[in-house]
């Protein structure tokens, strides 16, 4: 058997070499499918990695409370998306945040609410600017660098805002003389007290692009909008040793204040890094599905070319059978050829995918993310594609009648 396998391998190699263009195009079909899967997996991995490093930068004392069920199943995610949750009340409220802040275990508590609104300055007006509502504790939890001015404090919070660097440039065409100027949001005037330094990462666990955002007190935001949806509560623990205990305490405290409803989740450590937005999961899932479809199309290409190859080589199949090849020998010969085509395509795709991921990393902050799991998934997928789409032509070749095949002229 090993001798035969080696022979099949050699035969497949010869046949692929003989039909170079055709084999290359078939491989390309598989390669594009694999490359897109690699690209998406690599992007997902690098986003998770980015958030992970950010969490570890912030320190090991971070606890995050997010609304929705603690058991985040797929149906929950779909419900969240389909039930137009914009109009749904977030399960977290400012009183929850206050309750957590009152606990001895917590050093700083910053609820986060986001909104988008039109912002006017003396020079420009910008629609749909992301606004982040939080408390003065925010700066204690996230290591934000301010370029100019200060973050708002509990004393001056009601009339103050902090601008992201890009936003400051957009509104006032400058960053160094922005402090002290006023911006208008829904008719209310706010004074700029600080401008943030450029943030290195555009993705973080708050899901806010701080460079483009305006940060203001959450109560003021509540006041001008009428209501706010708290998207998460960031908590700095008083001590890092018993993070799990503190998280449990927060959980039970919140449960008490919500009269037993557990419609929130408490995360700490690496689980924060788990992409917070369910939309992210859905979108990347959809992308992966599209990539999988292109892989299927590639597989159909393999099947097509194998069927052509079987038809072309009917005479050869007849000769081989006449000199003693069994149907199984013929089956293996053609299956091997399909497998080699698809695995070769997989290897091309792996290289192509990482090349694309690398090119993407030049213009975006997503570093290519390589893991043996991704490579193993690729290999197994292409192997499966090869078998699934190669078996039918191989069976067709194997079941050919030798006498008829010998009559078949090349």
């Amino acid at each position: 058997m090993p001798v035969l396998l080696r022979t099949h391998f050699k035969l497949a190699k010869t046949s692929i070499k003989e039909n170079r263009t055709r084999s290359f195009l078939t491989c390309l079909g598989i390669a594009i499918g694999v490359a897109s899967i690699i690209l998406i997996l690599s992007l997902m991995g690098s986003i998770t990695n980015l958030i992970k490093t950010e969490v570890s930068d912030i320190g090991s004392d971070l606890i995050v409370v997010r609304p929705s069920s603690s058991k985040s199943s797929i149906t929950n995610i779909i419900n969240e998306l389909t039930l137009s949750n914009k109009f749904e009340q977030s399960s977290l409220s400012l009183s929850d945040s206050a309750a957590i802040a009152a606990m001895d275990d917590t050093a700083a508590v910053a609820p986060i609410a986001t909104s988008t609104n039109t912002i006017e300055s003396e020079k420009n007006t910008f629609p749909s600017v992301p606004i982040l509502g939080t408390t003065a504790d925010y700066i204690k939890i996230e290591p934000l660098a301010l370029r100019y001015g200060t973050f708002f404090t509990d004393q001056n919070k009601s009339g103050s805002v902090v601008l992201g660097r890009t936003l400051s440039l957009a509104l006032f065409n400058t960053i160094n003389s922005t402090v002290g100027k006023t911006v208008t949001i829904m008719g209310e005037k706010f004074m700029v007290v600080g401008v943030l330094d450029e943030t290195e990462k555009s993705i973080n666990f708050d899901n806010v692009d701080l460079d483009n955002a305006l940060i203001m007190d959450i109560e003021s935001l509540d006041h001008i909008l009428g209501s706010t949806q708290i998207q998460q509560i960031n908590i700095k623990a008083a001590n890092t040793d018993s993070l799990a205990t503190i998280a449990d305490n927060i959980k039970s405290k919140l449960k008490d204040s919500k009269s037993g409803d557990e419609n929130f989740s408490v995360a700490y450590g690496d689980s924060i890094a788990h992409p917070s937005s369910s939309l992210f999961v859905i979108v990347s899932g959809m992308l992966a599905l599209v990539a999988a479809i292109s892989l299927v199309v590639g597989g159909i290409g393999v099947m097509n070319i194998m069927l052509v190859s079987v038809a072309e080589r009917t005479h050869e199949i007849g000769i081989r059978k006449a000199v003693g090849a069994s149907s199984r020998n013929i089956l293996m010969q053609f299956l091997f050829e399909a497998l080699i085509l698809s695995v070769l395509g997989g290897i091309f795709g792996l290289l192509l995918g990482y090349l694309l991921a690398f090119l993407l990393s030049i213009i975006t902050p997503f570093a290519p993310f390589i893991s043996w799991e991704i490579i193993a998934i690729t290999f197994l997928t292409t192997l499966t594609v090869g078998i699934v789409f190669g078996i039918y032509p191989a069976i067709k070749a194997a079941s050919k009648n030798p006498i008829e095949s010998l009559k078949h002229y090349r």
Binding site: V3, R6, S15, E18, R320, G324, A325, S326, N329
Partner: protein
């Protein structure tokens, strides 16, 4: 004595019938066909087109199955064995020679010759060695890496004959091997077949050319799927015999040096189990 005779019987066909179609379209390529072939015979089968010659050859060569009837090969009933076993017997015991050579165009002739050995489990080196020494016998050793289209018809047919005998089969089946050749090439090919026959091989050949019957030890004329005339031109005792001795001789000094067959994993396991 009795036993020796039966040992010399290679092929026994009894009541062999091959039917095509049903009802109105029913026709018989072979009808109640009986034939006994001894080792060392050189049989020529003649007859008009459509008399069942090729069907007979295909059934003997295990490429086709009879509708019903008995086929004993070496005393073993092979009429109803699995396709897998038929393939193995084809690889080991039967060599085919065709009218239109049927070489694989994409392979150099040495690999064409080595083809049957692929399916009997020889390693690549021993395959090529055997193919090379067989080609040498047909004076084609300088063209090992030529492709079939680079050879003349006669040369191609000699390659095909080399392929048929490379695995040392017991039966060589030739379907009009000279049909596509000019008389000079025909002569050369027939001389090669003759010398193969003289080594004790059994040859069954289909032909349309009556002048070739001089090479045969037995001429069978077929008509409508049955034997019309059956003439032995050489008495049984004058066949290249005793074949058993010939076989012994061949085993002692093989015409073709065959390498060791690498035992398959299955065989190894079997051996292991047996030794336990």
């Amino acid at each position: 004595m009795e036993k020796e005779v039966s040992e010399n019987i290679l092929i026994e066909l009894k009541g062999l019938t091959k039917r095509y179609g049903y009802g109105d379209t029913e026709s018989f390529a072979l009808k109640d066909f009986d034939l006994t072939i001894k080792r060392g015979e050189f049989i020529m089968i003649m007859g008009p087109s459509g008399c069942g010659k090729t069907t007979l050859l295909n059934i003997i060569g295990l490429l086709d199955r009879a509708s019903y009837g008995e086929y004993m090969l070496n005393g073993e009933d092979v009429a109803s064995i699995s396709a897998q076993r038929q393939a193995r017997l084809r690889a080991k015991k039967i060599g085919f020679i065709f009218q239109d050579f049927n070489l694989i165009e994409d392979l150099p002739i040495i690999e064409n010759v080595a083809l049957p050995l692929v399916y009997t489990g020889y390693s690549k080196t021993s395959r090529l060695k055997n193919a090379s020494s067989t080609l040498k016998r047909f004076h084609l050793d300088e063209r090992e890496y030529y492709f079939p289209y680079q050879l003349s018809g006669g040369q191609q047919q000699r390659v095909a004959i080399a392929r048929a005998i490379v695995g040392n089969p017991e039966i060589i089946l030739a379907d009009e091997p000279t049909g596509n050749l000019d008389s000079r090439s025909s002569h050369i090919v027939m001389e090669e077949l003759k010398s193969i026959h003289e080594e004790g091989n059994t040859i069954i050949m289909v032909t349309h050319n009556p002048s070739l019957t001089t090479y045969a030890t037995r001429v069978i004329n077929m008509l409508d799927g049955q034997i019309d005339t059956d003439v032995k031109t050489v008495a049984d005792h004058n066949l290249p015999q005793p074949i058993s001795v010939k076989i012994e001789k061949r085993k002692a000094a093989p015409e073709v040096i065959l390498g060791d067959i690498e035992p398959t994993e299955k065989d190894k396991r079997k051996k292991h189990r047996r030794s336990k």
